[in-house]
């Protein structure tokens, strides 16, 4: 469990948390999953998700996407001031630059000594939207978005998807009103490279442990779908 530094396209650099599967020697090659953060930065929750993916044999990298605003942000949804700060960051965050930083991460992951060269992405909330955009704009082979926010505004980009995409949609998502969900389902249902999983009665962030909307049963179901999808497309 280490921190690596990734050079950005425009000359800066940012940190990323990296989790490796156990017993990886110099010769071992493993596929990579880039974990894309929520609006709370790289916190315990995201690091745990990386560790979880590593336990399934993936190299997991979570880049600090808020570094342009302030590096090293770590917030909790349980502290009201930190929650407000998180929404501010959400408003201030530049999505296009975020995608550039994720592409830089993907580039580093591909060239890593232990990498098979197969790289996927997996993101939550804001990261869910970025995972969708990575599927549209990058070479990500397998992309997974958990309750992504604002995808309905970007539907046309789906024409550029080259890999596979899986979206987990919470049917009672407070960030994604029914009309928006309807738009997404209508547009993506006929697309064979997109797998849609919807969860009745689930609200936003139902897989965030310790969060208000956490639901163990549905979280496990979604994660199982994800692991199967990653095994199928990256291994």
């Amino acid at each position: 469990m280490t921190t690596i530094t990734i050079p950005s396209k425009d000359g800066g650099s940012f940190n990323a948390y990296m989790a490796m599967p156990e017993n990886v020697s110099r010769e071992t090659k493993v596929p990579t999953v880039i974990v894309i953060q929520e609006i709370f930065g790289i916190n315990d929750g995201i690091r745990k998700k990386c560790d979880w993916l590593a336990s399934y044999g993936f190299m997991a990298i979570a880049p600090d996407l808020f570094w342009r605003i302030e590096p090293g942000i770590e917030l909790s949804d349980q502290v009201p001031e930190e929650l407000e700060r998180a929404f501010q960051l959400f408003g201030e965050f530049n999505v296009d630059q975020g995608i550039e930083d994720l592409k830089a991460t993907l580039h580093v992951a591909k060239g890593h000594a232990n990498s098979t060269g197969k790289v996927g992405v997996l993101g939550y909330c804001l990261g869910g939207k970025l995972a969708y955009l990575m599927a549209c704009r990058s070479e990500s082979i397998a992309s997974i978005g958990y309750y992504g926010v604002g995808i309905e505004e970007l539907l046309v980009e789906a024409n550029n998807i080259s890999g596979k995409l899986m979206l987990h949609i919470a049917e009672k998502d407070g960030f994604v009103p029914p009309e928006a969900q309807h738009k997404i389902l209508e547009a993506f249902m006929p697309n064979d490279s997109i797998i849609l999983n919807t969860y009745p009665d689930m609200d936003h962030a139902f897989t965030r442990e310790g969060g208000d909307n956490y639901d163990e049963e549905n979280a496990e179901m979604a994660d199982n779908h994800s692991i199967a999808f990653l095994n199928e497309n990256l291994k």
Binding site: G91, E92, N94, E152
Partner: protein, 525 residues
């Protein structure tokens, strides 16, 4: 772009003055340059660019989504605050703003006090909020019945009985024999059961139709509003220039219309984006333009001006044309005052090209437009005030040319109309027409048509007679286009229609005395 050669500038200026004075009491040869000198002036300037963020809040009925959706108002406000911060310090917005300004034809030069919205950076946020009135229920308890579904009977006001209408509540009524007897409807009780509420005193609430609730009006029954906030960055500019070493004629001109001067290459600028000491954005300019003094000799008299920019703009030029055309103006004034033979005075005045054009324009268009058109032809050398007074005088003169003919035309037209009306109304013709129409409204319409026809005919004869006199007075200005001389009928045009209407009514009245058919509407009130 390059700076123009001062010699060429002087020649350019000479051409302008010759064009203005030619045919206006002077000829091309009698305009010469007496003296000309100039230099290239360099100046520094700065356009400050500040970013202001305008937020626009809008509340719409129903469940909508626009831009970034957030589940609560607090979350939305936080996200908006973040977005504002992102715009203010984001590198890409700064770059976009600089590009936007430098991409203008004037590169932002002399852009002072302008607000330029940056639509590309506009962001919308939305959230849903329950209706305050109905707490999100979509309906509220009926105010009329307080949710009771019933209201007090409007007939008996809840008393269940109403006064008897037959006996007016007296209990007695006058019988056929003239004696008072007991009312048969209320049996002397003076009141009867209320028929509206069947003696209950209550009726179904009219407001809610017995529902007890009514649809909430503010939210149209949906219970929800969508709050949409648009965040729009606006560039605010402030222009600053180094006035020292600048000729005073140039300062005002650059301040007023610097951006046009750059666009049309009157001045050259080099623009470069810079960061101000306070961290703000600015565009720095190095501007260059020729500036000089020139003196012309016009009919031997000196007339001087300042020469500005690559296209030899003449500044501070005194209204020299006003002197040159003075004799023509005198003749025109005489024509306007009916002094002497008007047509001859006009001919004499129009010996000056400028006056000739003024007369022609005045004859063809409204006065205000004529002033503008003349200003376009003579942008220099004559003041606006002089142009206005010239057009006004020309208008009076033309009015004098056509006055007598217009009234002759009016008389001819009305006579002809009168003859036609006589032929129609004072013979049996109208009776036959009225029978076939068989409808007062149609007859009235016919009257209107006849009056319009008479008025139109008269209007036409006025134009015809006026045109003849106009051709005589200003035909020489029009070069083979005599047939197109336009004539204004002025008030006589109005008289044509009023006269026709009066004539028609007189004829109608005459029918009653002579005994021919009178239109049916004439007797209607």
């Amino acid at each position: 772009m390059s700076i123009a050669d001062p010699k060429d500038l002087a020649q350019n200026a000479l051409k302008q003055i010759r064009r203005l004075s030619d045919g206006n009491g002077s000829s091309a040869d009698s305009v010469q340059i007496m003296e000309a000198k100039g230099e290239i002036i360099s100046m520094e300037a700065l356009t400050h660019i500040d970013i202001d963020i305008e937020t626009n809040e809008e509340e719409r009925v129903g469940k909508l989504q626009q831009g970034t959706f957030l589940p609560t108002e607090e979350a939305m406000n936080a996200a908006i605050a973040g977005a504002q911060k992102g715009i203010l310090k984001g590198n890409d917005s700064r770059k976009m703003i600089t590009e936007q300004i430098l991409g203008r034809p004037d590169k932002g030069f002399s852009l002072h006090g302008k607000n330029i919205p940056l639509e590309e950076l506009k962001q919308d946020f939305s959230t849903h909020a329950p209706c305050n009135r109905c707490q999100g229920q979509g309906s509220t308890s009926c105010g009329q019945c307080q949710g009771q579904r019933q209201e007090v009977c409007t007939q008996c006001r809840g008393r269940t009985m109403i006064p008897c209408r037959q006996c007016h509540g007296n209990g007695m009524i006058q019988g056929p024999d003239g004696k008072q007897q007991q009312c048969k409807f209320c049996f002397g009780q003076r009141q009867v059961s209320c028929p509206l509420c069947q003696k209950t005193g209550r009726m179904t609430c009219r407001q809610c139709r017995g529902n007890g609730n009514i649809k909430c009006d503010p939210c149209k029954g949906g219970g929800l509003f969508t709050k949409i906030v648009s965040v729009l960055p606006v560039i605010k500019t402030l222009f600053e220039m180094n006035r020292a070493d600048l000729p005073d004629g140039a300062i005002g001109l650059i301040e007023r219309s610097g951006s046009r001067l750059v666009e049309r290459d009157h001045i050259d600028i080099q623009a470069e984006p810079v960061t101000r000491k306070d961290g703000g954005l600015a565009i720095q300019y190095q501007a260059q333009f020729p500036y000089g003094k020139i003196t012309f000799s016009i009919n031997g008299k000196p007339v001087s001006a300042d020469l500005f920019g690559n296209k030899a703009k003449l500044l501070k030029l005194k209204p020299f044309l006003e002197d040159l055309i003075k004799p023509g103006i005198e003749s025109l004034k005489k024509a306007a005052n009916n002094d002497g033979v008007v047509a001859n005075q006009i001919k004499k005045a129009s010996g000056h090209k400028l006056i000739g054009q003024a007369i022609l324009l005045t004859a063809t268009m409204p006065k205000k437009q004529a002033v503008m058109a003349l200003k376009k032809k003579y942008p220099l050398g004559i003041s606006n005030k002089a142009l206005q007074s010239l057009i006004k005088t020309a208008d009076q003169a033309i009015g004098n040319v056509t006055r007598r003919p217009r009234y002759i035309g009016l008389a001819i037209g009305l006579c002809a109309s009168g003859v036609a009306y006589t032929g129609l109304l004072l013979t049996k013709t109208y009776a036959n027409l009225a029978i076939s129409l068989n409808n007062p409204a149609l007859e009235m319409a016919l009257a209107a048509v006849l009056i319009a026809a008479g008025g139109g005919l008269t209007h036409y004869t006025i134009k015809l007679t006026a045109k003849k006199s106009m051709t005589h007075a200003i035909g020489h200005l029009m070069k083979n286009r005599q047939s197109n001389i336009p004539t204004k009928t002025r008030t006589s045009g109005l008289y044509a229609y009023i006269g026709a209407a009066l004539l028609f009514l007189i004829m109608v009245e005459a029918t009653r005395h002579i005994g021919t058919a009178t239109p049916a509407w004439y007797f209607l009130k």
